[in-house]
């Protein structure tokens, strides 16, 4: 290896000195030196908090990769797709760089020639946290003309939500409006995204083949450093033995929260605090039986769908989602079976009725309400979604306990449309899984919910209900590595006596100083409802002081009400305690977000 002025950032003199030295070094010495320098750079970056992020971006953009894979991710699916595709494109000899939207300076988009966007949609059509700023910019008046840009969008979403893949759709339309050229049509993926995503990639990569260059020197700068080397993955899940399955809620509770311990001995599955475990559930056998009876099918009848041959019972139990309806499914059923009544329901003027129906009904209701008794399984089943894995935050630390992974699962049971309904995975875990049984799992990385590398940085954890799970993992990890920084937990639920999840562990951690401060909000122990945000407000001076000391805020749990109320309260605290206007407080929190000091894992 010979350094030159034009392939390096050094002066003539520096190049000479370095070449002299490098020429004499053995392989081992070179490896050592590279590690040494990297470590030094990383620690420098830690010391000057804000700066390095910008420097990093500058470097990446000025390098002008020919293809940029830009992703916005909440649960990590968009990220893992972006990384997979990037590697494949690199293999094809293309210059590719994958980057998360919040690490990308939005206005630099005008410098790009080819961009592939992979983006998910959440809640009521919202972009993921790390894409908010990018989306704001793109949709604002400041967005530049993009006549030179070629692009394609892969949208991820869940068709049981009304605003399915909205963020992807909006970006797709907006880029076109700004003058960019679409090289392949957007594809909207449902929760069973593998096939659709693959299709999109096939069409995108054939369009990109023309760009093949002779240069193969580039090394992709992907953000994921800890590549899982295990054999097991989402598409090849590991069968983990259940070691423990207990209800964490004491007698008399309105809740049921399962603590599940799984053995991953010899699976070589590595995970970090903040990651999730995906579990492939099995549909309720009773519901499957009812469905088969209702359809008038034979449970042992064999059917073949796309190279797979299953019995009807097996297909319904293990392969298809039968507990949720979506608009696309109803559309497909309506058109496949020329179903008049269903077609009527799908008309625009019936929108509210349709949404209400989807919200409160499942396939069994549909069979009965829309007389689908005569359809054949070969025709109907391919119209359904594949059963998706359920993600649960890991509640244990790999470092502390590498042979096991623990999960905290809130059991979902509710009544709707005159029937009792069960969460597929949680009720399976609650009622049909015992220690000794096996479940199919994989590790789902989440690089956007991470403990700071510097263990001196204070952390504030806000995790009511099952939102507590990742924080148990955080604590185990910090106890194991003997982290020095302060930590503060806000936890809440309905009743102190029955719902203080992992109570004795928190009491021990606070006693031993692993946890610095603990504030509890039990909403139903007194007349007025008290939630975590009220406890934060009570402690607002100290809360702000921690922020000023550089603390990272983590929020985990319910998205609809909790995460929003907590967000508003953080803003109010910054405003009040920092003597700031509303805009200033928003900017403050935004900066925290950019610095990865405000991380959320909400659902």
């Amino acid at each position: 290896m010979q350094l030159q002025v034009r392939n390096s950032p050094f002066s003539e003199e520096e190049v000479q000195l370095l070449n002299q030295l490098l020429g004499k070094l053995t392989g081992t010495q070179r490896v050592w030196l590279s590690g040494y320098l990297t470590a030094e750079i990383v620690s420098d970056m830690g010391a000057t908090q804000q700066e390095p992020a910008h420097m990093l971006q500058e470097v990446q953009v000025t390098e002008t990769k020919e293809i940029t894979v830009l992703y916005g991710t909440q649960t990590g699916n968009a990220q893992s797709l972006a990384e997979t595709f990037t590697e494949q494109l690199l293999g094809n000899g293309l210059k590719v760089n994958a980057i998360c939207m919040n690490e990308f300076k939005a206005r630099d988009i005008k410098k790009l020639s080819h961009v592939l966007i992979i983006i998910s949609t959440h809640g009521e059509g919202d972009p993921p946290d790390n894409a908010i700023e990018f989306c704001d910019f793109i949709h604002s008046k400041r967005a530049p003309k993009l006549n030179d840009l070629h692009y394609s969008v892969l949208a991820l979403g869940d068709s049981s939500y009304e605003q399915f893949c909205l963020t992807g759709k909006q970006i797709d339309e907006r880029l076109e409006a700004l003058g960019a050229t679409r090289i392949a049509d957007r594809i909207d993926c449902d929760v069973d995204f593998d096939e659709d995503a693959e299709n999109w990639f096939t069409s995108v990569s054939s369009e990109l083949q023309e760009l093949t260059t002779t240069s193969t020197k580039n090394i992709a700068n992907t953000t994921n450093e800890n590549k899982v080397t295990s054999l097991y993955s989402r598409t090849n899940p590991f069968e983990a033995e259940v070691l423990e399955n207990i209800n964490l809620n004491g007698r008399g509770s309105n809740k049921e929260t399962r603590h599940i311990e799984l053995s991953i001995e010899d699976a070589n599955l590595k995970f970090e605090p903040g990651d999730s475990i995906g579990i492939y559930p099995e549909n309720d056998p009773q519901l499957v039986e009812q469905l088969i009876t209702s359809f008038g099918w034979e449970k042992d009848q064999e059917i073949t769908i796309k190279d797979h041959t299953w019995t009807v019972e097996n297909a319904l139990k293990h392969h298809y989602e039968i507990t949720r309806l979506t608009k696309p499914i109803l559309e497909k059923i309506a058109s496949t079976f020329q179903h008049e009544k269903l077609t009527t329901l799908l008309q625009d003027e019936q929108k509210n009725t349709l949404m209400e129906y989807i919200e409160n009904h499942d396939l069994l209701d549909l069979v009965e309400d829309y007389s689908l008794q005569n359809v054949s399984p070969d025709e109907l089943l391919p119209l359904l979604r594949k059963i998706p894995a359920r993600l649960y935050s890991v509640a244990s630390s790999y470092r502390a306990n590498p042979d096991e992974v623990h999960l905290t699962v809130g059991v979902v049971r509710y009544h709707a449309g005159e029937r009792d309904r069960n969460g597929v995975c949680s009720v399976q875990l609650s009622e049909r899984i015992e220690p000794g049984d096996k479940v199919k799992i994989y590790v789902h990385k989440n690089d956007y919910f991470r403990l700071p590398e510097d263990d001196q940085v204070p952390i504030i954890m806000i995790g009511p209900g099952t939102g507590i799970a990742p924080f148990r993992s955080f604590m185990e990890e910090r106890e194991e590595i003997e982290a020095k920084g302060k930590s503060w937990l806000f936890f809440g639920d309905q009743h102190y006596r029955t719902d203080f999840l992992y109570q004795i562990e928190w009491q021990r951690w606070i006693k031993q100083g692993v946890l610095t401060k603990l504030d509890l909000a039990f909403s139903r122990d007194q007349e007025e409802k008290v939630y975590v945000q009220h406890k934060m407000w009570e402690e607002k001076a100290l809360f702000y002081q921690w922020l000023e000391e550089g603390a990272i805020i983590y929020v985990c749990g319910d998205e609809k009400s909790m995460a929003k109320d907590v967000h508003d309260t953080i803003l109010r605290i910054i405003q009040e305690e920092g003597n700031k206007s509303e805009e200033e407080a928003t900017a403050y929190l935004k900066t925290m977000q950019q610095q990865k000091r405000y991380q959320r894992d909400v659902y």
């Binding site: 207990i246 209800n247 964490l248 809620n249 004491g250 007698r251 603590h259 102190y496 006596r497 029955t498 203080f500 999840l501 992992y502 109570q503 004795i504 562990e505 928190w506 009491q507 606070i510 603990l518 509890l520 122990d525 007194q526």
Partner: protein, 578 residues
């Protein structure tokens, strides 16, 4: 031969027990209670503060049924507090009774327990509700101060419904003694009632606690007053037992008995239940003085090194009864006169209506094990609440855990009778003679000391013993039967004709030979036996009794006469049967 308990003196050293330390450092029972009750991260309080809580009338407990289950669920034990509400002689107004009922529903487990010392116990109060509960209790002019702890406890008094005029007079003395021996510390007001801290006065020990000083007593201290012929208070089980002497229908003063007590420790023969010994007679106006001086003797001479040797009975047994008399006379500056004659018939309750000498009516109702609660079959708690709403007299808690609806006017009697029958409240007529004379302590799941079941088990054991009695034709025979879940003896099982003292789950020591009037100890007949052996042990004795009992001979007297167990009138001989 003079028997002595040498062990008590041998073990008295400079080294005091840790509880002594806690008391002295507590700044007159304050400790860190304010801080620990403000700690929201645990529903418990530290052991040192729990020791002090007892003086405030409450114990921290946990639901022992759930202990293991919750541990597995990574939850702390289901901590909760029991609160004991004191009422001298067990007399409360209907308004106070209703308040107890309401508090039990609002903060407690929706039951009330009448205790063997004529107090109310409330269960299941959580830490966060303690202050509100204490305030609610005090708002009704009842108190919990000194209901437990190393002080004089609730002063018992025969609730005598027969001789109303005598009861009224005697009861006045119970109140006076109770008042006089109450702790004077302001801590109770500060902590529970938001009372101001009286800073200036507290520098002076004489002001803060003139009788107890800053060390309080070495152990709990119990006083009870009996009115013969009823020994329902078990006067010989008290540290100070006062026996009212009635001459020509007039109350003239008390015989004073000292050094009774039930508690002992399994496996330590230097501990034993003891019968109080009568040391003389005192006229009414000297009673408070005598009680105070006896308390101070115990304060100054009790064993503060080993708590199990610290009760007044051991203080006396270590030195002899003559030493006590001398020391007392010295402190009094005068001597007690010779004891007067009296006679006890029984220590149980008599049920149903009786008309008192004041012309008012009194109804004694049977409450199994003192537990007032509603069940699907029996709305006892609701029924009593409805009665309390219309009642204009008083309620009296009996030492046998029953309830007297006292001082009912002729006009109200009919209305109360109607309510009693609407709610089918037991006047004892539905319970067998054995059951009517039964007492069980609380034990599981709330009592931290319990080694075996008691309240939840005795009723079903009685079912089976009843069958044995029926077979022997003895179903009408009154026999006292008492069960304690541990050897501390809250149910006074060591004075029962048939007594059970818990050893382990399902296992009891069977005691026999107590007298029907409570003047003789029952001693261990069989050790550590289960239900099958209990029944097998009792059956032949019951059959033997049926065949060969003398006229009016009680069961306890029979087993002693027949030599099943020796007659023991002194606790120092309690273990000699082994």
């Amino acid at each position: 031969m003079t028997l002595r308990n040498e062990k008590v003196l041998e073990t008295m050293t400079e080294q005091h027990s840790d509880v002594e330390d806690i008391k002295i450092k507590s700044n007159y029972l304050r400790g860190t209670l304010v801080e620990t009750f403000a700690d929201s991260l645990t529903a418990s309080i530290p052991e040192e503060d729990n020791r002090l809580m007892k003086f405030h009338g409450s114990y921290m407990q946990d639901d022992r049924d759930l202990r293991l289950e919750r541990q597995k669920q990574k939850l702390e034990p289901a901590y909760q507090f029991m609160i004991r509400v004191r009422a001298a002689g067990g007399v409360v107004t209907p308004e106070q009774y209703i308040a107890m009922d309401e508090i039990a529903h609002q903060y407690g487990n929706k039951t009330l327990r009448l205790t063997t010392r004529q107090a109310f116990q409330l269960y299941g109060i959580v830490k966060w509700d303690m202050k509100k509960t204490m305030q609610a209790i005090n708002d009704t002019l009842l108190s919990t101060l000194a209901a437990c702890g190393d002080v004089n406890r609730n002063v018992m008094c025969n609730p005598n419904p027969y001789q109303s005029n005598v009861h009224e007079e005697v009861y006045k003395w119970a109140e006076k003694i109770s008042k006089h021996l109450e702790p004077q510390t302001n801590a109770y007001h500060e902590i529970w009632l938001d009372g101001k801290k009286v800073v200036d006065q507290q520098t002076n020990e004489e002001h803060e606690e003139p009788i107890y000083k800053d060390i309080y007593l070495p152990r709990k201290f119990k006083i009870g007053i009996a009115v013969p012929p009823s020994n329902d208070v078990d006067v010989f089980s008290q540290d100070i037992g006062l026996i009212a002497i009635i001459e020509k229908g007039k109350f003239v003063g008390f015989n004073v008995a000292v050094g009774g007590g039930m508690g002992m420790t399994h496996g330590d023969e230097h501990t034993y239940p003891q019968i109080g010994r009568i040391i003389g007679f005192c006229p009414p106006e000297k009673t408070v003085d005598v009680a105070e001086k006896l308390v101070t003797i115990q304060r100054d001479f009790g064993n503060r090194s080993i708590r199990k040797y610290a009760r007044f009975k051991y203080t006396i047994d270590a030195r002899g009864i003559d030493w006590l008399k001398e020391t007392l006379h010295e402190r009094l500056g005068y001597e007690l006169s010779a004891p007067r004659d009296f006679h006890f018939d029984h220590n149980g309750d008599r049920y149903g209506w009786v008309k008192g000498s004041n012309g008012k009516w009194h109804m004694t109702i049977f409450i199994q094990n003192g537990r007032i609660k509603d069940t699907d079959q029996y709305l006892l708690m609701t029924g009593l609440r409805e009665i309390a709403k219309v009642h204009t007299g008083d309620f009296r808690l009996t030492p046998n855990q029953n309830l007297i609806i006292g001082n009912v006017t002729e006009e109200k009697k009919e209305q109360i009778d109607r309510l009693l029958s609407i709610y089918n409240i037991s006047k004892g007529e539905n319970a067998s003679a054995l059951r009517r004379n039964s007492i069980a302590c609380v034990a599981f799941p709330t009592c931290g000391l319990a080694m075996a079941e008691s309240e939840r088990y005795l009723p079903s054991l009685i079912d089976k013993i009843e069958l044995l009695l029926e077979e022997a034709g003895l179903e009408e025979q009154e026999i006292t039967i008492r069960m304690s879940g541990c050897p501390n003896g809250c149910s006074r099982a060591a004075l029962a004709e048939i007594g059970f003292i818990g050893k382990a789950p399902g296992k009891y020591n069977l005691h026999l030979g107590g007298s029907f009037n409570g003047d003789r100890l029952s001693v261990m007949y069989k050790e550590n036996i289960d239900e099958e052996e209990i029944l097998a042990s009792l059956q032949p004795i019951i059959n033997h009794y049926a065949k060969e009992k003398l006229d009016n001979e009680n069961f306890g007297d029979f087993v002693v006469r027949e030599g099943y167990v020796p007659a023991v009138y002194n606790g120092l001989q309690f273990h000699e049967n082994r």
